[in-house]
Structures are given as C-alpha cells and as structure tokens.
C-alpha cells in the first residue's frame, strides 16, 4: 500500500468534494452535449415550435371547458385535477378540447354487471 497524499482530514474533505463536484459537473455538461447533438431532437423542436402558434388560436379551449363546467355541473377543481393528470402524461392543457361527464349512471352499470355475473 502506497502512502496517502495527505492525512489532514480537512484538506482531504476539500479536495475530494471539489473532485466530486467537478466530475459530476463534467458529466452534466456531457449530458447537455448529448442532448444538443441528438439527431432525433430537431423533430421534437419542430413540434414544440408548432405548438406555440396553437395556444394563441386555441387559447380558448380552457374557458370553453370552464363554460361547460357551469352547464354540466363539473366543478373547476375536478377540471384542474383531470388537466393535471393529463399533463402528467406529457400533454399540454391546450390539447384538452372538452371535459364532459359521461351520460351513464355508474351505479346502474354496476348493478347490471352484478346481475349479468350472477346469471353466468
């Protein structure tokens, strides 16, 4: 075993933390570089560029959804939750055209299913 470079704990701490930060920063730069040279990236960029035009024209859908809210009785909180859930899958709010309740009674369906299961 060779001799350590230093035995001063504070110097060891300082040098090691500096090296860790430098290496991980370098890795961060490499990740950014990979992102920049990514040949599949321009396609995404084109899509992103295309999108901002839409919100201006299609900035209305959100109010439309809210208008539907009052008519159909969906509270703004539920609209927000549904929008957030959709957004978590990578879709923009501007892509939501409408949020409407399905004209079905869940309890009725549940009862129907239970009955059909009993028959089978």
């Amino acid at each position: 075993m060779s001799h350590p470079v230093t035995t001063n704990p504070l110097i060891i701490m300082l040098i090691n933390m500096t090296v860790v930060f430098l290496v991980l920063t370098a890795l961060g730069l490499v990740i950014n570089l990979i992102h920049v040279i990514d040949p599949t990236r321009p396609k995404e960029k084109k899509q992103e560029e295309a999108l901002p035009a839409e919100p201006v024209a299609a900035a209305e859908p959100a109010p439309v959804a809210e208008a539907a809210v009052d008519e159909k009785g969906i509270s703004p909180e539920i609209v927000a939750v549904i929008a957030a859930a959709i957004a978590s899958y990578g879709y923009g709010v501007e892509q939501i055209r409408a949020i409407r309740p399905i004209q079905r009674d869940g309890w009725k369906n549940s009862g129907r299913m239970r009955l059909s299961n009993r028959r089978s």
Partner: protein, 376 residues
Amino acid sequence: MELFNAFAVSLQAVWADSGFSAFEAGNGIMILVGLVLLYMAIVKEFEPLLLGPIAFGCILANFPRTGFFEEPGLMQAIHYGIANEIFPPLIFLGVGAMTDFGPLLARPVTLLLGAAAQIGVFVALVGAMLLGFNVQEAGAIGIIGGADGPTAIYLSIQMAPHLLGAIAVAAYSYMSLVPLIQPPIMKLLTTQKEREVVMEQLRPVTKFERVCFPIVAAIIISLLLPPIASLLGCLMLGNLFRESGVMDRLSDTAQNSLCNMVTIFLATGTGMTMNAHDFLVPQTLLIICLGLVAFIAGTAGGVLFGKVMCRVSGWKINPLIGSAGVSAVPMAARVSQVVGMKSKPGNYLLMHAMGPNVAGVIGTAVAAGTMLAMLK
C-alpha cells in the same frame, strides 16, 4: 470393557473436534447479534434481502473450527469473490440494468445535488480521524454516508478489510432506516414555502440520449478515476443492456437472476466477515455512530444545496429532492415524495427526486474513486 473404552475415546475425540470445545463467549455474543439482525430482517423487514444473508453469514462465521477460509470450498470461493472485489461490480451490473437515468438526463443540474450529499462521506471521515482511526480506515467508514452498499464494501475491502463487517452492517442498517432518519432533518432545514414548491414536468428523453449516456459516462469516469472503472463500468454496461432495446435477455438476467445470485454471495460473505475477533471491538460502536453522523450530514448537505438551487432557479427546484442525493435508491427518493406530499398533497416529487438519487450512486462511486486514488 474394551468396547466401553473405545466408545469413551471416540466421544472424547468427537468433543475435542467439535465446535463446542473451542466455543468462546464472543462467538455466543456474535450469534446473538446474528439472531437480532435476522429478527430485524424477517420480522421488521429492514432490507430483508440483504440483512437476512448477512445475519446468517454472521452466525455461520462464529462456529469455531469450520475452516471456512482455510480449506477450499464454497465458503472460500465466496470469500475470494469479496476479497478480490468481484461481487460489488456484479451487483452494479444489476443496479445499472434496473436504473432509469431518464430523470437525470432530463434535468442534469440535479447531478449537483448528488455531489452535495457526498459531504456526509467526508464529515464522517473527519470525525473518524478525530476519533483515532487512520486515514484509510476513516475513508472506508466515511463511505457509509454514501448509502450505497456495494460501493461501501468495495472501498472497505481495499482500504480497511478488517472493518468490512461493521461498515457493511452499518451501511445496510442505516439504508433501511432512511425513512426514519431523513424526514426530521428535511423538515428542520426547510420552510413550508420551500416544501410546497411544485417542479416543472421533466422533458422527454430520447432513446439516443439514453443509449449514449452510459457509453460516454463509462468512458469519461473510467479515464478520470481508473480505480472505480470496474464499478462504474459495470453500472453503465447494465444500463446499456436496459436502454439499447436489443439486449433484453442480458438486461433481464442482470437485473434478476444474476443480481439475486450475487446478492446471496455478497451478503452471506459480508456476514461471514463478522467474526467475534474482528467485530467485538470498541471501534464497531464508533463506526455505527459515525455511520449515523454520515447519513445525517449527507441528507443535510443535499437539502441545503437544494435550498441554494431553489433560490438560484427562481423557486423552480424543491429542496426536498436534495436529500435523495444520498443514493439509497429508490428509498431516498420515496422519502422526498412522502415529505413533499405531506406538505402539499398532490405535489409529486418522486420522478424529480430520482435525478439526484441516481446522481448519488455515481457521486458515491466518484468519492470512493477519489479516496482510492488519494489515500490508498
């Protein structure tokens, strides 16, 4: 009469060769320690997949006259795998195959949180040296703060093999206690407003980025820090299996059968280093205390750096994800998620915390490599 004499002599010989005749109080204590660890693994479910074989290995190691390490056989082969740093890189192969670097690639700045959390390693190193450990022992003890079992074992074998048992047990025990250790520190160091910061959705990461990253990272880190080339190389190779999309069978083997097999060998072999002679020393208690200090300091370092990044980014980074920089994948990220959800229901931090979490794995390996280059 002759039959009786022969019987008595045989019994004496059996007794003289048995473990009982050489059994010492220390062996009894260590078997009890093994049983307590087994209880924690099976009943309390503290990292059972690791603590279980470690505990059983500890019990096995304290049977006298087994000749495990002197005679060729399975136990010697397991010991060979540990003493020659074979198992930790193989575990990293499986870890790489299981790791999704996507959150890190989407927000590379979180690498800095993984770096900041390594402060725990060096705080423990300073503490260990102040308590009288030599520099190599202090380095091996400090790595407990990295919350990364294979790296802790890898470094301990090279710098302080006689402390391997205590370091491995401390590392895995504290890793299982992350949900108890971290939240009070996270709450203490952050304000309600900081904990409520909602982070922007991560950008999509392309397959090109996912495939390039392990290759480039392996090249750069291995060239910079050759002592950890086998660890980081295996981590990135496993990740390449996963991300390439054409090596599914290898990826499946690395993350399941191979990883499970090596875990059995590594954990049992680690437990078998816990013999009474090496473990029942005052240093063990100090190592366990220093391990806790390392975990606390690492968590605090990550959260405090998270607060800095929160300000610098204009309140776009929640400081709670900083605590995930201590590795312990994915438990530390889950803790960030749980604490964030308690502060603001609906604030999902899990994927954001996975960035610093996997950065912590790389950061701990880099810290180990730096110490090997500097202190060995």
